[in-house]
């Protein structure tokens, strides 16, 4: 089973919600749609599910054009951010509902529901109604429905967003395993870069109704194709600044200069945007991190294992993220050290230069 989008667009009135998008989504791994709220993740899922009409383009399942097929006939599952279960049915009936409408034999329905309920630890709750369950259990019930159905494609639209932190981690760890070996194309929408990295598989970065980059998640993280991709795929936000390249030297603002290395040396002289992840900007000089920056500390956050500091360099605010606990004073002038080898270079039009 493979799910393919060919030149799909969606339009509501004069506004184009989804700009021409082509994607090939395959089973065996998670296909993550990563983008901010409003970037078009849910719209794209609804197009694939057939819940909203497309303005143009084709959706293919295993090469078969399903663009004109109703949602009912596409054999898909969808789990929302909000826990959607039928309130007047028990957990058992909820999980069984797609099987029942498919006309499956009673004994087989029971077997499948039991199996799904066992995987999602819902067995003791099969005879309760959804409103008697906790949020996490309700979402597990919705997931069990998706699993029991054995559909061709499973769409998970920010399924963990409304769960508390602990449940989130627990379910996220289970998710890849839940769908492994089922042969369904799994599409997972999220606004959190960390979630995409944890789930692995492939990631499509979305921005303004457009897929800006698609590929193996780790590869995209390591090699953002454009400045938007770099911005979307970073939390805390990636640090960007304008630099001027002249010969083998780069200059940032008034006083910071360094000697370029690697591919960046070959770039034509001119202005570029560099982007560097917060964990390559450290409060102490280390072997790679040697370009000294200076800024006024604005906000600091200390977690048990990491310290982050937002500092103002005059030309803009950057973030540093380092292991361990660093004593910052808000308002003080502090030195930070950037590892220039880790910087991405983007041309003025946003495309990756080096």
């Amino acid at each position: 089973m493979a799910l393919e989008l060919k030149g799909v667009t969606k339009r509501v009135g004069a506004i184009q919600h989804i700009k021409e998008t082509s994607l090939l989504l395959e089973p065996g791994h998670f296909n993550v749609l990563l983008g901010a709220t409003g970037s078009g993740k849910t719209s794209l899922i609804k197009l694939m599910a057939g819940l909203d009409p497309m303005a143009s383009g084709q959706v293919l399942m295993d090469g078969e054009d399903v663009s004109r097929l109703s949602t009912q006939k596409r054999n898909i599952s969808l789990v929302h951010q909000f826990f959607i279960n039928y309130p007047h049915m028990t957990v058992f009936e909820n999980i069984a509902s797609p099987l029942k409408v498919a006309g499956m034999a009673k004994s087989e329905i029971e077997g499948r529901v039991e199996e799904a309920a066992a995987i999602l630890q819902l067995k003791p709750m099969l005879h309760r109604r959804p409103h008697e369950l906790s949020g996490g259990q309700q979402q597990r019930c919705a997931l069990a429905r998706a699993i029991a159905k054995e559909s061709r494609a499973v769409f998970l639209d920010e399924p963990l967003a409304n769960l508390d932190y602990k449940l989130r981690e627990e379910l996220r760890d289970q998710l890849p395993e839940l769908f492994a070996g089922r042969g369904a194309v799994v599409v997972y929408a999220t606004s959190e870069p960390e979630e995409a990295l944890l789930l692995g598989g492939k990631t499509a970065l979305m921005r303004d109704g457009r897929v800006t980059q698609f590929g193996p998640t780790a590869e995209i993280y390591r090699n953002p194709g454009n400045v938007d991709a770099a911005r979307v795929f970073s939390d805390p936000p990636i640090n960007t600044a304008e630099i001027t390249k002249q010969g083998s030297m780069a200059r940032l603002g008034a006083g910071v200069t360094w000697e370029l290395s690697g591919a960046a040396v070959g770039l034509a002289d001119g202005t570029y945007t560099i982007a560097i992840r917060p964990h390559h900007v450290l409060p102490v000089a280390k072997n790679g991190a040697h370009v000294q920056l200076s800024g006024q500390v604005q906000v600091t956050e200390l977690s048990g294992s990491e310290s982050s500091a937002h500092f103002d360099m005059g030309s803009g605010s950057w973030v540093s993220l380092a292991h361990g606990v660093h004593p910052y004073q808000v308002g003080e002038l502090h030195d930070f050290y950037m590892d220039p080898a880790q910087a991405y270079f983007f041309a003025p039009d946003g495309s990756r230069a080096a």
Binding site: L51, Q72, K73, L78, Y86, S97, P98, V101, R145
Partner: protein, 287 residues
Amino acid sequence: MKTENQKAWFFVLPVLALVAFNALIPMMTVVNYSVQETFGDNVFFWQGLDWFQQILRSDRFHAALGRQFLFTFLILIIEVPLGIAIALSMPRKGFWVPVCLVLMALPMLIPWNVVGAMWNIFTLPDIGLLGYFLNHVLGISYDMTQDPVAAWVTIVTMDVWHWTSLVVLLSYAGLVSIPDAYYQAAKIDGASNWAVFRFIQLPKMKTVLTIAILLRFMDSFNIYTEPFVLTGGGPGNSTTLLSIDLVKIALGQFDLGPAAAMSLIYFAITLLVSWLFYTLMTKDDLN
């Protein structure tokens, strides 16, 4: 220690007084009549349960009761599915919603005796729009003043016209309270329109439908004004429903004792059927 507070009774008093005057006292008067015989002048003779026995054994009562159940059965079996069907096909949002709602509410706003008079004039074979059209244009012999079947068709049609809206409006209220998310989930489950109706819409409408059926049962079982104005119980006794018969006995023949006994039996039947229906419909919700 639990503190005893009798103040609550004080707040219940106005309601008790109201109920006493509009229900309890009139009802006790009826009970009073039902066990006595009177020829006027406020002179009463004790009869015990004679009137009840007489009514329960009377063929006339059995016939009227049979007609009453038939009438109620017919209008329920037409109005409930029809009402649901209309509610399902009404728009859920947009310009036409208020238009539909007002059109639906119109028949219910017309006074009952006016409804009866309207349908009487409408269906008279020689001057009525419908009566004339059926007889003289389509050539169908239709005369509700002569033919019992035509009379029944007319009173049932009139009630359907008058009261289907109630079922429509209540069902519609149930339908619009269903969030879109459930329809979406049902689509994804692969549910057909029938399955959506059977497993989502119908269960969600169950409460309002119970109320609608209960109201329609009670109203149609006690119906008087419209058929009285329309057919007066005729031709013959063919449309003499329970309440029409009751009024004939009480006011026509001035048999106050039997009429009172009949009223109480009538009331007991209405109460019993309503209670049975309500208990059956809400049985699942209790456990």
